[in-house]
């Protein structure tokens, strides 16, 4: 408990969280502060490239231990299973339509890469090691949740054609391709490659993350202003409960796999986090009748801030306690 509190305090007063808070505050106060779309996209490309590359280098460095394949598989299973849990929970907690519930569920099976990045930052500064291939697990968890959600809907009698075009779009989503691609580049070029571009992808990383989280705060705040009306208390609660439920599943998976303390924590973070890039796009194509305000506000306005501020310290503390790390 003590460790949680101290981690939480350090975390809450770090530049990246405060930048996020500044963004939320600015947009709730209706300031015209904004970051151009192209710059936001540029920063997200930078972050994906850097995190993938560093993951690959770490694998090149430490080699792959036997759990890599098992971890990837665990990630895929988690991503596919969590939407079903989420869907069940929503039946109990909220009174969303089947469509809206399935769309929300898809988001919680998938992952938020920025939450992952923020967690690795906290792990780094706490000196807790984690497996470099967790980046690949993150990539593997992006898509399966979408298929699960569409299956949930089709089970309900609504026959959705999962057209092959959509499947291709989901699998070759830009963020997956960039993450996996840079992971392999890092793996192939190793520490020698890293040395060449370290001054670009390592040193300024935390600073770029600050500005990116400032933007995330602006977007989240705007979403809260616009979407707060649509969220019933039950659904709001779901946005805080589901991450904890997901983290529990992630924790069990990590412990069963026998990964490091940091690895368990990252499994928890991935399972707890909700997508706001790949899944919304897929939902707009496949389930256009589902209300985007609901899933975007929940994922970006409720769960993301929760994980960023309280969730990450909790998950790390629990992982440390359980692995004795």
């Amino acid at each position: 408990m003590d460790q949680i509190l101290s981690l939480a305090a350090t975390n809450l007063l770090s530049p990246i969280i405060l930048s996020f808070a500044l963004g939320v505050a600015a947009s709730l106060a209706r300031s015209d502060l904004n970051i151009p779309e192209a710059v936001a996209k540029g920063m997200s490309i930078y972050l994906l490239f850097a995190i993938g590359f560093k993951g690959g280098v770490s694998v090149a460095d430490h080699g792959i231990d036997g759990t890599l394949a098992a971890s990837l598989l665990a990630g895929i299973v988690l991503s596919a299973a969590l939407p079903i849990v989420a869907f069940g929970l929503l039946q109990v907690m909220g009174n969303l339509s089947r469509l809206d519930a399935a769309a929300v569920a898809a988001h919680y099976g998938s992952i938020s890469i920025v939450t992952f990045v923020a967690a690795t930052s906290v792990l780094n500064s706490s000196g807790i090691a984690s497996e470099g291939y967790m980046v690949a697990v993150a990539a593997a968890m992006e898509a399966p949740a979408i298929l699960s959600a569409l299956w949930l809907i089709s089970r309900g009698g609504d026959s959705r054609r999962m057209d092959p075009e959509l499947l291709r779009e989901i699998m070759l989503n830009g963020s997956i391709v960039l993450l996996v691609g840079s992971f392999f580049i890092g793996w192939i070029t190793g520490t020698e490659g890293l040395a060449k571009i370290e001054a670009f992808i390592v040193s300024p990383f935390q600073g770029v993350l600050c500005l990116f989280l400032l933007d995330m705060g602006l977007v989240a705040g705007r979403g809260l202003r616009g979407g707060s009306g649509v969220l019933k208390p039950g659904v709001l609660t779901f946005g805080v409960v589901m991450p904890l439920v997901g983290a529990t599943f992630g924790c069990i998976a990590g412990l069963l796999l026998g990964v490091s303390t940091g690895g368990v924590a990252l499994f928890m973070v991935l399972s707890a986090s909700a997508s706001y890039i790949a899944v919304p796009a897929a939902m707009r194509v496949a389930l256009p009748e589902a209300n985007p305000s609901i899933y975007l506000t929940l994922s970006l306005g409720v769960t993301f801030p929760f994980n960023l501020t309280l969730g990450i310290p909790i998950y790390i503390a629990v992982a440390s306690a359980l692995t004795g790390g």
């Binding site: 933007d215 890039i277 899944v279 707009r284």
Partner: protein, 103 residues
């Protein structure tokens, strides 16, 4: 200056649907169009804006197509099949166009 009667079809649609729409247009034999960016908007499903957007899930674009009047129905049928279940707005207006040989 010699001009020719034509129809100007403007379709505001979600970005994720753009390639599906233009593919459908191509299948219907329409090969000329232009895509314009959209910054934001408001409608039944609320207000949105492109500022700070990192998701490609929520942006829209406008697809503009100038077409011979007799081919309008084919285009509208093709477009409608795509936009049917989706948000967005399709308008048609009359126009005159220079250089009919080019479209």
């Amino acid at each position: 200056m010699q001009t020719h009667k034509a129809k100007r079809v403007a379709i505001i649609i979600e970005q994720v649907m753009q390639s599906r729409l233009t593919d459908a247009m191509e299948r219907a034999g329409v090969t000329g169009w232009t895509v314009l960016p959209v910054l934001g908007g408001s409608g039944d499903s609320g207000t949105w804006s492109r500022e700070g957007q990192v998701s490609r899930g929520t942006g829209m674009v406008q697809v503009l197509c100038v077409i011979k009047p007799e081919r309008l129905d084919g285009l509208l049928d093709a477009a409608f099949a795509v936009v049917e279940r989706h948000i967005g707005i399709v308008t048609v207006s009359d126009c005159e166009v220079l250089r009919a040989e080019r479209f």
